[in-house]
Symmetry: C2
Subunit: 382 residues, 2 copies
């Protein structure tokens, strides 16, 4: 294997595939990135067995030569060093040349690196994904879907299926749900799925996979194609393939948890940013005790009061203006940190809050739309 490759593109694609490589892998060869040169170009692969990322750099792109191929072949190079080396090389191109079976020289400008690698034959094959069901979404839309749901997955392995985001398509509507059983985030979006393309139901993608994918997606309208099989999901973005294992197990039915309008006992609207900043202040004191409990009380038709108390440190109280208040003057306690997480991903100036009783979950959504829904369990305080 011997190539001359454009440094800028090489840095970009190494940074993409290295996201799949874990520094704590127990399989030595997975600490590496596979470089595979065919007549068509250079393929880079990184994997941690759960996530695999494959990126292809073609010989010619936009009529510019990006890779000059002197000799085809393959090698696996230690990901950590490769990523740092390519980033710091001085020249605009880098010459990558396999010298002995599993060693390589990388030359750029006056700089020459010799790097020991692994046998490419030992690198695991990527999963084969048959086109069971396939749909696509603009990258910027899918980025938002991830941002607005993946934060709410469980971080505890006691119920592994809750560490993922649940996908379900009914008709032309994709519903993405995440819950750690104390809070729930739900986002719906229109998709184009032909019925004979198969169906998407009880597909649970590990939250970590989506967080890594989100770093690669860009804020552009170009599509990301999504292919779902029994135990794998594949995201195609331009020349990049992102594979993720799916989580096994039955995801809980969450649709019935969402309270209907008819159950509402108290509803009001208020400014997202005001509530967010007030909660951030409230948590300055209660964060320490790690309970994050905030108490909300309706004062009158236009005012609510948020309070947080930490026995040893002190207390904070703040009144907030609300609009369109309907129903009872109730009070409720909740985990302020969970609500803050949700408010940070709400892309709406105003939010609508609906309460169905002091002991029941309450709902937060943008005041103008219901494509995003957040639910929160109350906290009992004695």
């Amino acid at each position: 294997m011997h190539i001359l490759v454009n440094s800028h593109r090489m840095i970009q694609e190494v940074q993409h595939v290295v996201k799949a490589v874990s520094s704590r892998t127990t399989i030595p060869i997975l600490s590496g990135i596979k470089l595979d040169v065919s007549a068509a170009g250079l393929t880079l692969i990184g994997s941690d067995a759960n996530i695999s990322i494959e990126s292809f750099i073609p010989t010619v792109e936009n009529e510019q030569e990006i890779v000059t191929i002197h000799q085809t072949g393959a090698i696996v190079l230690p990901a950590k060093y490769l990523a740092e080396i390519v980033k710091k090389l001085p020249g605009e191109e880098m010459d990558i040349h396999v010298q002995q079976p599993f060693s390589v020289t990388i030359q750029s400008g006056a700089s020459i690196f010799t790097l020991n690698g692994f046998d490419p034959e030992e690198y695991p094959r990527l999963p084969v994904v048959q086109n069971d069901a396939q749909f696509s979404l603009p990258q910027q839309v899918f980025k938002n879907v991830i941002r607005q749901t993946a934060f709410a997955v469980s971080t505890q392995e006691t119920r592994p299926v809750l560490t993922g985001v649940h996908l379900c398509i009914v008709g032309k509507k994709l519903t993405c749900t995440a819950t750690d059983s104390h809070r729930l985030a739900l986002r719906t979006v229109e998709v184009d799925l032909n019925e004979n393309d198969g169906n998407v139901n009880n597909v649970v993608i590990p939250g970590r996979s989506l967080q890594e994918l989100n770093k690669i997606l860009e804020d552009v309208s170009d599509d990301v194609e999504i292919v779902v099989t029994d135990n794998q999901i594949l995201f195609k973005v331009g020349n990049l393939l992102f594979f993720s294992r799916l989580l096994e197990g039955k995801y809980p039915v969450t649709t019935e948890m969402i309270p209907a309008k008819a159950q509402a006992k108290t509803t009001f609207e208020l400014k997202t940013k005001s509530l967010l900043q007030t909660l951030e202040r409230a948590l300055l004191l209660s964060r320490e005790g790690k309970n994050n409990v905030v108490h909300l009380k309706v004062i009158d038709q236009t005012q609510i009061e948020l309070t947080s108390t930490s026995q040893e440190i002190g207390k904070v109280t703040e009144q907030l203006h609300v609009e369109k208040l309907q129903g009872e003057h109730m009070h409720i306690s909740f985990n302020g940190k969970n609500v803050i997480d949700a408010l940070r991903v709400v892309d709406s100036e105003n939010i609508y809050m609906m309460f169905t009783g002091t002991m029941n979950a309450f709902l937060v959504r943008p005041s103008e739309s219901d494509h995003t829904i957040h639910l929160f369990s109350p906290v009992r305080t004695y």
Copy 2:
């Protein structure tokens, strides 16, 4: 104690004094910031027993009322919470009111905090600094002096005096020196010290004190006044007083370590940035083994070669252009990380390097000046 204080100024001064407060203090009251209100204004004090910072906010500044005093008095408030609360308060002013003996309400906009504090009578007194010797320097100059020396202090407590920067004034010249016995950084600067103002000799300031002071100093030509006594040093910057304990013990004589021009066996000049970037690349591989060894070899009159090898990972080689080379074609090994640290604080496009033999310390300084000198011990490689 009851005051109304401008939020912007309060945030600024709390951020200054909180730098002296350690989160790991074993003396509970030192986890707090003292607020002391006299008829003239509000004094804030933070301390960790080694460093103390006192800042004064006068009632009126630039003809604007900054502090309105309703009642004088004092309180000590937990530094961590106070610093976060003042930063997040919504209003342009904050009303601070001692309610019970050691509790306070802080009100700003719609936000009301109640915070438990400590008895101000228990807060230790600041050291009394008599004017033994006094001189002053523009803040921007002193910032540079700190930046160019404090990085080189020892981090090991085996020889405590080496964890500080040594100050010495002879005639009108202040010499600041730091060494961890493997490298040395020296910076000289002109000062105005009257002979009857006392003398400055064997003054050793803890490196950490200088790093904290540097965060407070600004890039302005306003002076910082420096007062030295037996065991304390005081820096006065506007309304701010920064006290630091001095280190005890005899600082080693370093002047004789610096090789004279006559001892030079090889000298050359090269671009600071080129050498820095080459060393950063060289350390990508050797950093792991933590030895950071880089080998330098003179190739011919215009080229040197830098090499670094890590048995397991690989090797890096790079040639660099040098100018005005005189003397032998030598080679030497050294700790590349130490040289990188020094090159990062050199404010000169070109540097001069002087070698006096493979087993002797070598010298690096700006090619146009000798007010900054860096020395490095070689590393033996077998």
